[in-house]
């Protein structure tokens, strides 16, 4: 398939190899992160007037789904501030390559590897989302807890264990980065085979060996391999969307679970935040009450029972109808690729509906970030109630249709014929119909 290696352009190579541009971006995001925590703790309790709520859940969350992932895969991870303090301690310096710093450098327990904990984290986001997304102080406490947890884990475990195994956003971006148009790969495999020191693996904060990279799910695009490679053998490719999805790529059961949790979360968030059911919103908000327990029960049944059940039935049928018989576990893992474009486009459609109506709040909170009556750029009074336009509704329909097309195309490619693809397409169709009804119906 066609690839465009960005390191062929001298200016791009210089930018990517130097640690300074990335450090400057990360310093800005770290400053924004600290300010967000402070705004959440000391700013207005009215969410729509607080920088923490608007910037985290409208500006950043929207940018992640509409820009970073679709056009850059895990590019957000390359400038994420959360692992920075821990990494500085691990590396023994701010601009140092991976080396001898502070920390026990232990291996992450084998039984906790994979995306299981990330999926669990995303379930928690869904269960407590109505409060986290609307309360500035809760958002601040969650962000503070996350950065402290990342710091503590980096002192105990090697490399970016928090990002690799715990961060729910890392799970989200990693899953959908497989559909993204950016990858880090080696230029010539023979050159790597002849290089015994494996400096790229030693330097990688993610614990990846570029020669073995077949998927972009676990590559955080930090560019450390590019910087330390003595033979200039690392390529940063622009590639067609969905390049990691195909009949020959390997996928695990935990990816299927993560993909299903993402689908369930998209459905539940659409129902809670965009639906006309006030009692559902109140139930999701009243944590610990009987209505909330009912909401949590229904959410967990949908995320862990109904959706996985439907998917398992589709994967089982696809396996039975295919030319080569396979175990259910292998079928669940292999066919999970279908969940990637389906979920990505569903989240983008959800975001369009959410962000288009609320985006006017962004400039208003830049003008008055703490809700204290400031007017720094003269736009504090510009926020308005917002409304869905016929364009945004049509755009959501098109996005969901693209998701269904893409998922069906992946199903066709990985099953290599129409019959075994049909159960997977039927599953994708049912999910898309559910999203369509929640967003448009």
């Amino acid at each position: 398939m066609t690839r465009l290696d960005l390191t062929c352009f001298p200016w791009a190579k210089t930018l990517l190899r130097s640690r300074w541009p990335q450090f400057l971006l990360r310093a800005i995001t770290l400053a924004g992160f600290v300010f967000t925590i402070l705004a959440g703790l000391f700013g207005s309790v009215v969410g729509s007037h607080n920088f923490a709520i608007i910037f985290v859940w409208i500006a950043w969350w929207t940018a992640l789904k509409l820009f970073f992932i679709p056009f850059g895969g895990r590019s957000w991870c390359s400038i994420c501030p959360i692992p920075m303090p821990g990494e500085w301690l691990q590396h023994g310096g701010i601009l140092q390559p991976r080396g001898k710093g502070i920390g026990l450098d232990r291996r992450w327990p084998h039984f906790l590897k994979g995306s299981w904990l990330q999926a669990g984290g995303f379930l928690l986001v869904g269960l407590f989302g109505a409060v986290t997304l609307t309360s500035a102080s809760v958002t601040a406490v969650v962000l503070l807890a996350i950065i402290v947890l990342a710091l503590v884990l980096s002192l105990v475990f090697e490399r970016r264990s928090f990002c690799n195994y715990l961060c729910p956003i890392g799970g989200f971006t990693g899953l959908y980065a497989q559909a993204g148009p950016v990858e880090v790969r080696v230029k010539d495999a023979d050159v790597c085979a002849g290089h015994s020191e494996k400096t790229c693996y030693s330097a990688c904060p993610w614990g990846q060996y570029p020669l073995a990279l077949k998927s972009s799910a676990n590559c955080g695009l930090c560019m450390e391999c590019l910087r330390v490679c003595p033979t200039d053998n690392i390529a940063v490719n622009l590639r067609p969307w969905g390049s990691d999805l195909g009949p020959k790529t390997k996928h695990r059961l935990d990816e299927a679970f993560l993909g299903l949790v993402m689908l369930a979360s998209a459905l539940v968030d659409s129902a809670v935040f965009l639906g006309p059911w006030g009692q559902l919103k109140s139930a999701a908000y009243a944590i610990g009450s009987l209505p909330w327990l009912l909401f949590a029960g229904v959410f967990l049944v949908a995320a862990l029972g109904v959706l996985p059940g439907l998917y398992a039935a589709a994967a089982w049928a696809a396996g039975r109808l295919g030319p080569s018989k396979t175990t259910l576990q292998n079928a669940l893992a292999h066919y999970s690729q279908v969940l990637v474009p389906l979920g990505l486009m569903a989240w983008i459609a959800f975001t369009i509906s959410f962000a288009f109506t609320k985006f006017s709040y962004v400039l208003a909170v830049v003008s008055d970030p703490l809700g204290w009556g400031w007017n720094l750029i003269g736009m504090s009074g510009t926020a308005w109630v917002g409304q869905a336009t016929s364009f945004s509704l049509l755009l959501q329909i098109v996005l969901l249709a693209v998701g269904l097309f893409w998922a069906s195309r992946v199903a066709r490619r990985i099953t290599e014929s129409a019959r075994p693809a049909m159960p997977l397409i039927a599953f994708s169709g049912i999910f898309s119909l559910g999203m369509l009804w929640l967003l448009i119906g």
Partner: protein
Amino acid sequence: MVSQPPNNTAKEHWKHWRWTFLFAVSALLILFAPLPLPGAAPADRHIRIEASMFQFTPGELKINPGDRVTVELVSTDVVHGFSLDGYNFELKADPGQTATGIFVADKAGDFRFRCSVACGNLHPFMIGKLRVGPNFLLARGIGLGLLAVIVALWPLRKPSTHRLRSRP
């Protein structure tokens, strides 16, 4: 090098792109083709909506195109607003008070209405739904989804066509 006659080149292009063209036209038709509205006679309607944190009751309303609608907004706790997407229609009701306004439903489709006065943490998500006539958008979405599946499976059709042609 022998250049192809322009007629042949055009034919080749048409052969190559005809299905893409057909699918694109079908998608545009599904999305934008005008559909006939049912001929229900416009009527005067009176709708009472109770607003409380964080819901409208009823949350879903159905009316016919052309209806003249009187909305009576009653707030049962704090100050609430009522802003209807697609229409320049807004009300604001103080606690325990009623606000009334009239609009003519001259646009068909599904429209969200939202609370327009900050009323608490879930205020941005205090949403209701007004349906004016049938929901053609949902039907268009289903149609486009079916087309998407057909397009995705279309390449599988080619080998069988070739096989049929190659038979003696």
